[in-house]
């Protein structure tokens, strides 16, 4: 008869943090369960006691018995997760019944060491978002980690949803981790994805704000575990962690409760490790290691647009660039409300084709020149024609970069739009003209029999000069259409 189980008794309780004795051979990340079925996971091990974080709510008192479970902290993964919303422990939360674990399913541990350098390869492929501003000026690569930050109501979530929806028919698997957001927000998110047909290739992992802090804390770990499962199948994965600011606050709560010494802004000393350890798991991998990629977009909400606090700066230092959203830009009607001058992509440019690359350099130059000239122009009424042209081009570019939600733009159209300000067609046109005719121009390049050949020719071009020359030929047709 071998019915020996490892057990322990509660010695101390502090909210969701429980200290237990016993458990002679327990390891970190093992799971324990109370007699009433509440689960907890082992966070640290002391000389005589272990520290357990409770994942279910139960009134725990000293002397209560806990048993070690057979499973460690992990979840069942498989293709059955696609189109579903689960909590960090793999329990479905979308009301669509149990997960159908038919076919091959395996249990993966949530805590995994990031794959080493031997398993990674250079990021060579561009991750197309369908958003002109990103794909041309701040391009992302497959396997890149790009921080998305901005203040409240600056359109971050809408942008992220667009990003997922725009991945339709690209084969990219999207994983959205909603960390400590209200249940109603999660519900809305699932509904939007469903109504736009994006849920079929998406996995939503969510722990709402009403759940115990340790469970919410596990959300990004689960998201990365699921992402790694798909990456190992050779798939390109887009992972959104919304948001790591809440995650850091919850970890601070857990750490302070566990008597860990507080550091800057009361965050524990290992908060950098916690986030770096997570984001390190993203990347572009060699075929021998699955061959897929994980493009990670951690999100952080800023207070009063201040990105110099500890968590945003930490995240900026461990990602390959950042997109800065501003509510003031959104109020001016710019969507997506990304501050181009303060946003950066350290990897994406190497993945862009030469035409887009030189074109985006040109556009950036105009934008930076114009911002210098704008200050001067405020003091003088009569400006030289060159200055006027630069300022007009800047206005045109800003207008062309505006993109309404749920309107993905294909790569050739993005390139055409950004080249137009350099053609004679737009030389004397103002912002209002473009505001009125932007949609018409896009439609024309997609459907007009005279312009479609130009659109088709874009991928074969070798330089931006060639492109501008080609577009000069479209001037007449466009002028007629925009009368």
């Amino acid at each position: 008869m071998n019915n020996t189980e490892e057990v322990g008794y509660v010695t101390k309780v502090r909210d969701f943090l429980v200290h237990l004795d016993g458990f002679p051979s327990i390891r970190v990340n093992d799971m324990v369960i109370s007699e009433k079925g509440s689960r907890g996971w082992v966070n640290s091990i002391g000389q005589n006691e272990i520290e357990v974080l409770m994942l279910d709510e139960e009134k725990i008192t000293p002397k209560k018995l806990f048993k070690k479970t057979l499973n460690r902290l992990g979840l069942n993964v498989g293709n059955f997760l696609l189109g579903r919303a689960i909590n960090p422990l793999g329990v479905p939360i979308d009301g669509s019944g149990l997960l159908s674990k038919s076919g091959v399913s395996e249990i993966l541990e949530l805590e995994q060491e990031a794959p080493g350098i031997e398993s990674r390869q250079f990021i060579k492929q561009q991750f197309l978002t369908g958003i002109t501003l990103i794909d041309t000026l701040i391009p992302l690569g497959k396997g890149q980690r790009e921080l998305v930050m901005g203040d409240a109501h600056s359109g971050k979530t809408g942008f992220l949803l667009d990003l997922i929806i725009n991945q339709k028919n690209t084969g990219v698997i999207c994983i959205y981790a909603s960390i400590g957001k209200p249940s109603v927000t999660v519900r809305n998110l699932i509904d939007i994805l469903k109504s736009n047909g994006a849920l079929t290739y998406t996995v939503v992992i969510a722990a709402s704000s009403s759940e115990p802090a340790p469970l919410i804390y596990l959300t990004p770990k689960t998201a990365l575990t699921v992402a790694q499962y798909f990456q190992k199948q050779g798939k390109d994965v887009l992972l959104i962690l919304d948001d790591l600011g809440t995650h850091a606050k919850l970890y601070r709560e857990i750490a302070l409760l566990g008597n860990k010494a507080p550091g800057r802004e009361s965050y524990p000393g290992d908060i950098f490790y916690q986030h770096a350890h997570l984001l390190e798991r993203a990347g572009n991998f060699l075929k021998e290691y699955g061959g897929g990629s994980i493009t990670a977009l951690p999100v952080i909400e800023l207070g009063l647009n201040d990105f110099t606090t500890i968590i945003p700066t930490n995240l900026m230092s461990m990602t390959d660039g950042h997109l800065l959203f501003k509510s003031s830009l959104r109020a001016q009607g710019q969507t997506p409300a990304i501050d181009i001058s303060l946003s950066v992509s350290r990897v994406g440019r190497q993945t862009q084709d030469p035409v887009s690359n030189s074109l985006s350099a040109k556009v950036r130059q105009i934008l930076s020149e114009a911002s210098d000239l704008e200050t001067i122009s405020r003091f003088s009424s009569e400006l030289p024609p060159e200055t006027q042209l630069t300022l007009r081009r800047k206005d045109q570019i800003i207008e062309l970069l505006k993109q309404d939600p749920l309107t993905p733009t294909s790569k050739p159209i993005q390139v055409i739009l950004l080249s137009l300000p350099f053609t004679s067609f737009l030389k004397d046109k103002n912002r209002d003209f473009l505001e009125k005719n932007r949609r018409k121009i896009i439609e024309a390049f997609l459907n007009n029999p005279q312009l479609v050949p130009i659109t088709k020719q874009i991928p074969t071009l070798k330089s931006d000069e060639e492109l501008i020359k080609l577009l000069e030929g479209a001037g007449e047709v466009l002028a007629k259409l925009c009368q």
């Binding site: 019915n3 189980e5 057990v7 322990g8 016993g22 458990f23 002679p24 048993k67």
Partner: protein, 167 residues
């Protein structure tokens, strides 16, 4: 200090019994040493136990060391690791002594018998859900010899045999 605890543990088998007897001994000694007028009301088994303590054992305590000795004893007790037994009934003193003696015979190695000084102390817990039998916890390892565990183990077989009678 170990000698004092050893003497107390000679015929004390459970944690709750040990705590009760320590408090009894303390009250008795305080009354004796400080000539308190307050009467101690003792049951027969309590006075029997106090009388069974050797005279030279009681003479170790004096007005200067009594508080210190008991403070140390209490600390020692908290570090003791008992054998936890879950039973479906509350054992009386005689049953407890029988269980305790048997446990010490089988697993203990008291110093008086030339052993390493391991005196098994029991922590009896009441759990009627076990139905019958007992379960044990020692050093973080649990073994369940209860009827409940047996039923759980053969749940499907039992259910199947019940199903035969369903119409």
């Amino acid at each position: 200090m170990n000698k004092i605890l050893d003497v107390i543990l000679t015929n004390t088998y459970s944690i709750s019994q040990l705590k009760h007897r320590l408090s009894l001994l303390k009250n008795h000694l305080l009354k004796t040493l400080f000539a308190s007028k307050q009467e101690l009301i003792l049951t027969e088994s309590e006075s029997n136990w106090l009388n069974s303590l050797p005279k030279d054992f009681l003479s170790q305590f004096n007005q200067n060391n009594i508080y210190k000795i008991f403070e140390d004893l209490e600390k020692q007790i908290t570090s003791l690791k008992p054998l936890i037994i879950y039973l479906t009934f509350e054992p009386d003193d005689d049953t407890l002594s029988q269980i305790g003696e048997k446990t010490r015979q089988v697993f203990g190695s008291p110093r008086s018998a030339g052993g390493a000084g391991r005196v098994i102390l029991l922590d009896i817990k009441y759990n009627p859900a076990l139905i019958a039998g007992a379960s044990f916890v020692w050093n973080g390892l649990s073994r369940d010899y209860s009827l409940k565990a047996k039923v759980e183990e053969r749940k499907m077989v039992i259910l199947d045999s019940f199903k035969k009678f369903l119409r």
